[in-house]
Structures are given as structure tokens and as C-alpha cells.
């Protein structure tokens, strides 16, 4: 027997400190843990030409101590307290987060406040040089020395025009990482790391007014700073269609397709996610059935959307079976994708996709860390933390007709970028790695 899923609500409060810091408090006393999540509204899209990778390098530096916190102490104190922590950088935002046993809330607040308010006195050339080397090794390990590791940045490079904020990858290019200097660090901090450009989310085992007193105590005396001015509008992608071939040390080809899609702020974002799910969201999905089971030309196929602020990206990625060339795989993908127009997604396909999406949301909301991250993203990228509670219902409300209407616009061969990653010997003309544009 199947029963309707009950609604979910996470009650939260939103406050703002006098210095502009927005605070979201979501109490949940079911486990003695608390998540502290600070998200700054700055990411790789805010980097200057020739300075790619800087937002991410800067994130590394924020773990190197601040005026009252010694080098490497941030990690030690949180791990010794039984907590977990990390940070991450993406196109639109940079976040820093820890989950700790709830009686250690003050520790996490003290650490986050110190690097928000007292970071600059601690930075040195030696720290910058060390983390520059670490980041270059991160680029080697996660991208350059990994099969298919450069595919995504190649797609971005060809999808967006020169100077576009989403044209380069968050990790940045080696020569740009080399260029970063201490003055850049200071300027970046002053420009983007003020309380008014950040959201602090607390989620878990606390009482709201007590937690708010603690937040005020640690963050209240951080000075204002000017909230940065943002570009009025970000242009869309090139709008054209591109097909690029990239040689890599791989034994079988893989095809990356990226379609212009609705942004995370769009009313159609959830619909775009369900289109991806109907295409390749499970073993019964269209591409999986056709390419993996029927034609047996693909080893795997995936489709997903990226929740971005100013643009949208719907990705379809498939790996060839041995002996299948990139062109045949691409044609196979195109045939099935183009069928979406004549054979729109039916009730069963859409209902399954809705359930999968809601189940995945619950997996994220299950932990205080996942929920804090969702609230921070909704607050920073959409300006409405309420989206977290609405999202569960919004996915439930998407109808087949919505998918039909959006798919006609999004799944168009004229509005996408394709990169075929191929083994070295089969390549005709190799694509030079993307470089920086002036």
C-alpha cells in the first residue's frame, strides 16, 4: 500500500544584527548536535580576469588562522571537540561550516566570528605560498591527473563568451593561481567578507533566544564594511551550439552535453531537475534504458542540473562502452533526447521523478548540516530561506505539462555545448586546454 507523504516543515527564525549579518535559526532538539554554517555571497564568478581560482584559494587561507586563532587551530579545535568541518567554493558563494556536539556551539561561533572580523592581521606571505602549493596539488589531483577531469571546464570555456563570470572553473587555472599576491588577499577580504555579505545559519539543538544572545556576543562587534555592489545583470551563455573534441588519457570516450536551463532562482528550476531525472535519473530512465540496456553503447549515463544564481545548466554525461566512438554515442543521446518533444513525459515517469526528488531532499534535510546548507543556499542565492520548506511541495506540484513546455525550450541542439573526451590516438585535432582571456 502506498500512502501520501505527510508535509514537512522546519520552523526557523530570521534575524539581522546591527552590522548587517543575517542570522537564520532553526532549532531541532532531537539530537544533541548543532550545525553552524556561514555563507558569503562571493564565488569564482566574482574573480577578475587573470585571477581565476582566487575565491577558492582565499577559502583555504581562511583556515590558516585569524588574530586570536593560531595556524591549523581551527581544524584541531573542532575535531578535538568531536565535530566535523569544511568549506567549499563555487561560482556564486563560499561557505564554511561545522557540526559539533551542541554544548560546543560557542566554540564554532568564536571561530567563525574571528575569521569574519579579525582575519587580516594573521595573513602572511608564507601562508599564502603554502596554500597556493596545496591548491595547485588539488588541481592536479582532482582535475589534471584524473581521467575526464578537464571536461567540465572545457564545456564552460566554450559555452560562455570571453569575460563571462561563469566561463572559468572554480579551481582556476594554474598560471592564475601562481599570480595571487597578498594585496589581492587583503582587497578580496575587504570587498567581500563583510557581515552584510554573509548569512549565518544555526540548525540543531539550541533555544532560539539563548543562541541569538551567543551570536550577538561573538559577531555583534564586527564592523560593518560596505556591502559590495553587484553587476546588474549577468548575460546568458553564447546561445550557440558548439561541439568540441578533447584528448585525454582515457581508454573510452565520454560525452558531456550542457544545455542552457533555468537558474536556481527560476520558478522552473524544479521542473528542469525533473527533466534531468526523467532523462537519466534511474535505471528505468529513458537514456539509461535506451543506451545502456537496449543499444548497449553506453557504460553509464547521468543527467543533473546545477543550482546556480544567474544562469542554469542542465548536464547530460555518458561514458561509451569499449569500441563505441564518441560520435555514435552522441548520436544515440541525441536521438533519445529529441524524442522528448513527440513523446513527452507521462504521468508515471513524472510521479516517479517527483518521489525521487522529494526522497533526495529528505536525505539532505535529515542532518542538521544538510539542512543548514539548504537554508544558507536558499537565503543567499534566492533571498528566501523559506524555499527550504516550500521545495518539498514545489517538487510535488510539477505536472507532466510543465516538463513538456520546458523541455521544448531547453533540450534544443542549437542551445547547448558538447565536449567529447576521447583517447589520444583516435583524436584528429586536439583541443588546447582552455586558458585565460584578457
Amino acid at each position: 500500500m502506498t500512502t501520501p507523504t505527510r508535509a514537512i516543515q522546519f520552523p526557523f527564525e530570521t534575524r539581522q544584527l546591527d552590522n548587517g549579518l543575517r542570522v537564520i535559526l532553526q532549532p531541532d532538539r532531537s539530537s544533541p548536535v548543532v550545525a553552524v554554517h556561514v555563507m558569503y555571497h562571493v564565488g569564482s564568478k566574482n574573480e577578475r580576469p587573470g585571477g581565476t581560482g582566487f575565491a577558492h584559494l582565499f577559502e583555504h587561507l581562511l583556515f590558516q588562522g585569524s588574530e586570536h586563532v593560531g595556524e591549523a587551530e581551527h581544524f584541531r579545535l573542532i575535531q578535538e571537540a568531536g565535530g566535523t568541518l569544511n568549506g567549499s567554493t563555487w561560482f556564486d558563494r563560499t561557505n564554511y561550516f561545522e557540526t559539533v556536539p551542541s554544548h560546543q556551539l560557542d566554540l564554532a561561533l568564536w571561530l567563525e566570528a574571528d575569521r569574519m572580523g579579525w582575519f587580516l592581521p594573521s595573513i602572511t606571505q608564507a601562508k599564502l605560498d603554502n596554500q597556493r602549493d596545496v591548491v595547485k596539488n588539488e588541481r592536479r589531483q582532482s582535475y589534471e591527473n584524473r581521467p575526464y577531469g578537464l571536461a567540465t571546464e572545457t564545456v564552460l570555456h566554450h559555452a560562455f563568451p570571453a569575460g563571462h563570470p561563469y566561463r572559468h572553473p572554480t579551481i582556476g587555472y594554474m598560471e592564475d593561481i601562481d599570480r595571487a599576491n597578498l594585496e589581492d588577499v587583503r582587497r578580496f577580504f575587504r570587498t567581500w567578507y563583510c557581515p552584510g555579505n554573509a548569512v549565518l545559519v544555526l540548525c540543531g539543538d539550541f533555544e532560539v533566544e539563548d543562541a541569538m544572545r551567543r551570536v550577538n556576543r561573538f559577531f555583534g562587534e564586527i564592523s560593518w564594511g560596505d556591502v559590495p555592489v553587484r553587476p546588474a545583470e549577468v548575460p546568458p551563455s553564447d546561445g550557440g551550439s558548439q561541439l568540441v573534441r578533447l584528448e585525454d588519457g582515457v581508454s573510452v570516450p565520454r560525452v558531456y552535453m550542457m544545455y542552457d536551463a533555468p537558474s536556481f532562482r527560476s520558478a522552473e528550476y524544479e521542473t528542469s531537475a525533473l527533466i534531468a531525472s526523467v532523462l537519466a535519473g534511474g535505471r528505468s530512465s529513458r537514456l539509461y534504458q535506451e543506451l545502456v540496456y537496449e543499444q548497449r553503447i553506453a557504460a553509464d549515463v547521468h543527467a543533473y542540473v546545477w543550482p546556480l544564481e544567474d544562469v542554469g545548466m542542465l548536464w547530460v554525461v555518458a561514458t561509451a562502452r569499449p569500441g563505441v566512438d564518441a560520435e555514435s554515442l552522441r548520436k544515440g543521446l541525441d536521438e533519445t533526447i529529441s524524442r522528448f518533444a513527440d513523446h513527452p513525459a507521462g504521468d508515471d515517469e513524472v510521479s516517479g521523478a517527483r518521489r525521487r526528488a522529494r526522497r533526495q531532499l529528505l536525505l539532505q534535510f535529515e542532518s542538521v548540516g544538510g539542512r543548514a546548507s539548504a537554508l544558507a543556499h536558499a537565503a543567499v542565492l534566492r533571498g528566501e530561506p523559506e524555499y527550504v520548506n516550500a521545495s518539498f511541495d514545489r517538487y510535488g506540484a510539477v505536472e507532466p505539462a510543465d516538463l513538456r513546455a520546458l523541455a521544448t525550450r531547453v533540450l534544443a541542439e542549437e542551445r547547448r555545448t558538447v565536449v567529447e573526451v576521447v583517447p589520444p590516438e583516435s583524436s584528429q585535432a586536439s583541443e588546447p586546454p582552455p586558458g585565460t582571456d584578457p
Binding site: M1, T2, T3, P4, T5, S30, S31, P32, H68, A72, F75, R76, L77, Q79, E80, A81, G82, G83, T84, T99, P101, S102, H103, Q104, D106, L107, W110, W118, N130, Q131, V134, V135, N137, R140, Q141, S142, N145, R146, P147, D205, V250, S251, V252, G282, R283, S284, S285, Y293, A299, T319, R321, P322, D348, G352, R355, R356, R359, L362, L363, E366
Partner: protein
């Protein structure tokens, strides 16, 4: 009073942690049900846990358990692969079958509104797989493709070669997915036989955690009550071979921008009396961000994105190994530094501060281990696989707290002798070979 920011704030009193204990229930056919009701959100995790891991596979049958796991969801109870997939995806359920050395686990996550049909699908997949010949062939081909594709991944190559260096022909001597030569020879009869001999309600446990209905046990009985299985006569290996140390082994990967380094030996088994001391030792050496390996290779030298060590506790003695991916030019120097860190653990006592950090990270993190339903299900599954008592985690902090500085040095001295450790590098031989030869004789290894 103004705030003193110069030192970390004092923590208040810890809120008590209640470690969930499962309600146990046994069906007449022997199946154990271990359920924890935590209806926080409308979802639940189920895990059918079986002692059907990759622990019995000799080199010629390596990959069998893993291939069984891959084929299980591809057709059962007379339904085709496509029908099964349509049913699962329509319910919105995620079903994953994972294989370790000691167990196989069918793990399912569902909205609680779909729990009842999801339980039916789980039973069908576990109890009545058809091993359709076409699906077996397709899955074996895909697995072979994947094994070949993994040769492109330096970290995967390093993991597989390291297993071989440490364990030879023992089941731990290869990854659970097996190797090309053994998987090629597996056929439908092997899969059917494995399922018949190793899947039985008498040795299985169904773990459930989340928003479970009041009549959950009745639902389980309806789906699993008819399961009949043989007496399982399989005995997992509890010993490991004594493989001579290979010294330094280099697998050439021309043009590599980094070298994957693995240094390790055979550690201890789950439940060894030295387990607490080994856990503390590993946390000091390389289990945490602030551990010696990472502070040296990453935070001091900048040679890597991260260096760490891992203690793998299995039914028989698992590996204890160090790893890092470092830029090619410093490969020899990095190996030397890693060996020196090992040597330092053996020669001198850890500091009080290191002991505090290690013990804190291991014991104060318990509230985080029991936060979500999927974590609770996973932790109970682990208890089932290794026969851990229900008070294992509540007594864990006491065991860690009893570890002395001397016992840390002693266990490092006993188990991490650099002379006996295997050193593996997957990287560009043209660049790294001369440096490695300065450290000792180097054997060239092949990609399996």
C-alpha cells in the same frame, strides 16, 4: 564585561546522548529484524545484511560476490530487469547493493508512504533473483568494462596493486570487484550457487530505521516469512598469509602530473584487544586533518592536497596504510618523509596534546555518529556484521580513554616497522625512479 577572544570559549555541560538500541525480533525462519523507530521525517532506511562478502573468493573466483550484487536487482520473481527498474523508480526508492570483504548489504531508502511496496521489492530482489542469462552476460560485460576503465585512474590502480602486495592470493589481495581474468570466467551457475549457499534467513538481519509503521514486523513477516534457506556452512577466513615485504614497487604511468603513494602493512582485526590503541595511533599519525602526515606534507611542505592514514578493521587482519598524491617532482622526498613519520611514531612518545586531540575526535564525535536514520542503520549493520554488543558504543569512550602514550608508541613499534612495510608509487617512472632508487631497490610492477 567585554568578551575575551584570546582563548577558545569554555564548553557548557554536554547534553546526554541516547544511543539508539534496536528492537529485535526473530521470524520462525530465523531472520532477525532489528528496528529503530525514529519518525522525525517521512522516510526510512532498510538494510538487509548478509555474511556474503568477498571473503571466500580465491584468485580464480575474485569478483563473484560483487557480480552477484550487481545482477540481483536485474530481474526477480519473474519480472524483467526493466520491470524491476520501473517499479523501483516509480516508487522513488533507492536500492543499492554493496559488497565488502565481510558482508553484502542490500540498502534501501524510501519515503515512508512507499515503505510497504518497497519492502516487497527488497524481498523479491534478495530472495527470488532470476539471474536471467542475458542480464548476467550484460552485467559481466559492464563489470569488465569498468575494471578496464579503472586502469585510467591512478588511485584505483594504487588500491588494487597495494592489496596484492600485502595479501597475495588471500581474498584481501584484490579489490572486491575482482580482476579481468577471474570475472571473465564467472558464469550464471556460479552466481546461482553463491546465492543458494550464502543467502539464508538464518544468517541474515534486516535493519530498519526511520518512520516505521506500527505493524512493521507484520509487514516483514508477510514479505520475508516464506524465505527458506540452507544452513550456511561458509566460514570466513580469520587468518592472513605472511607475505614477504616487496620493498619499493613502482607502477609506471607516463606523463603523470602526480604520484600516488601508498605505504602500508597488515594491521589488526576487528575486536583485537589492541584496537583502541591502534585507533588512537592512527589518529595521531594520519587519521585527522591535524595529524602528523598532513601537517608535514600539506601544511608545511605544500606537496599534496592531503596525506592521511587509514586503519581498516575487518574480520581478519586488514591493512593499515598511509596515502598521498604528491606532485611528481617531490615523490622520493615525500616517501622519505612518510617513512620518517612512521619511524617517529615508533621511537618517541606522542605529546599530551596529540593524545587529547585523538581521543577527543574519536569519542566526543559519538553524537554525530547517531544523528541521522541512515547513520543509525549503518552503525547497527556494522554491529551485526562484527557481532558487536549493543553497549559497544556506550563503552567505546572508556576503552579509548584507557589508551596510554606508551601503548601508542608500542603498537607503532610492533606493527609499523618500515623494513616490513610495502611502498608503492604509481607515477611517471622517467622522473621518479632515480629518487626512489636512492631509498632502496625498486621493483617495477604492472597494472593488474
Amino acid at each position: 564585561m567585554s568578551l575575551d577572544r584570546s582563548r577558545p570559549p569554555e564548553a557548557g555541560p554536554a547534553r546526554p546522548l541516547s544511543i539508539p538500541r534496536p528492537d529485535r525480533h526473530r521470524l520462525p525462519n530465523g531472520l532477525t529484524v532489528a528496528a529503530v523507530r525514529r519518525p522525525r521525517l517521512p522516510e526510512a532506511t532498510l538494510a538487509l545484511v548478509l555474511p556474503a562478502g568477498a571473503d571466500s573468493m580465491g584468485p580464480e573466483r575474485a569478483g563473484l560476490a560483487s557480480l552477484v550484487a550487481k545482477v540481483l536487482p536485474e530481474g526477480s520473481s519473474g519480472k524483467t530487469s526493466r520491470e524491476m527498474a520501473t517499479m523501483l523508480d516509480g516508487l522513488g526508492v533507492h536500492l543499492g547493493v554493496t559488497v565488502g570483504y565481510d558482508s553484502m548489504m542490500l540498502r534501501l531508502h524510501t519515503l515512508s508512504g512507499q515503505l510497504e511496496p518497497a519492502l516487497g521489492v527488497l524481498a523479491s530482489v534478495a530472495l527470488a533473483p532470476d539471474f536471467l542469462p542475458d542480464e548476467v552476460d550484460r552485467c559481466r560485460d559492464e563489470r569488465l568494462d569498468a575494471i578496464r576503465r579503472m586502469r585510467d585512474e591512478p588511485a584505483e590502480v594504487a588500491a588494487d596493486v597495494m592489496a596484492q602486495l600485502l595479501y597475495g592470493d588471500h581474498p584481501y589481495g584484490r579489490l572486491t570487484r575482482g580482476r579481468e581474468g577471474s570475472v571473465e570466467r564467472l558464469d550464471r551457475a556460479d552466481l546461482v550457487e553463491f546465492h543458494a549457499r550464502r543467502f539464508s534467513p538464518r544468517v541474515a538481519t534486516l535493519v530498519a530505521c526511520g518512520d516505521l509503521p506500527d505493524d512493521f514486523n507484520d509487514l516483514v513477516t508477510a514479505c520475508f516469512g516464506g524465505w527458506r534457506g540452507v544452513e550456511v556452512d561458509h566460514r570466513p577466513p580469520d587468518t592472513v598469509p605472511d607475505v614477504a615485504s616487496p620493498g619499493i614497487v613502482l607502477v609506471d604511468r607516463p606523463g603523470s602530473g602526480q604520484s600516488e603513494i601508498r605505504i602500508g602493512g597488515i594491521g589488526l582485526n576487528r575486536g583485537d584487544p589492541d584496537e583502541p590503541a591502534a585507533r588512537v595511533t592512527n589518529a595521531i599519525l594520519g587519521g585527522l586533518f591535524n595529524s602528523r602526515l598532513n601537517m608535514n606534507l600539506r601544511e608545511d611542505k605544500g606537496w599534496t592536497y592531503g596525506a592521511r592514514s587509514a586503519l581498516s578493521l575487518r574480520r581478519a587482519r586488514g591493512p593499515w596504510s598511509l596515502r598521498a598524491a604528491v606532485e611528481t617532482a617531490v615523490t622520493g622526498a615525500a616517501v622519505r618523509e612518510m617513512l620518517q613519520e612512521v619511524q617517529a611514531m615508533r621511537e618517541s612518545l606522542p605529546s599530551d596534546g596529540e593524545m587529547l586531540t585523538a581521543a577527543g575526535a574519536l569519542t566526543r564525535s559519538l553524537p554525530l555518529r547517531f544523528e541521522t536514520n541512515s547513520q543509525v542503520a549503518g552503525t547497527i549493520a556494522e554491529q551485526v556484521i562484527y557481532g558487536l554488543p549493543d553497549d559497544y558504543w556506550s563503552t567505546f569512550p572508556g576503552r579509548i580513554g584507557g589508551v596510554s602514550r606508551d601503548s601508542v608508541r608500542d603498537i607503532a613499534a610492533r606493527m609499523l616497522d618500515p623494513e616490513g612495510l610495502a611502498v608503492l608509487v604509481v607515477g611517471d617512472a622517467d622522473v621518479v625512479l632515480p629518487d626512489l632508487e636512492n631509498l632502496g631497490p625498486v621493483t617495477l610492477g604492472d597494472v593488474p
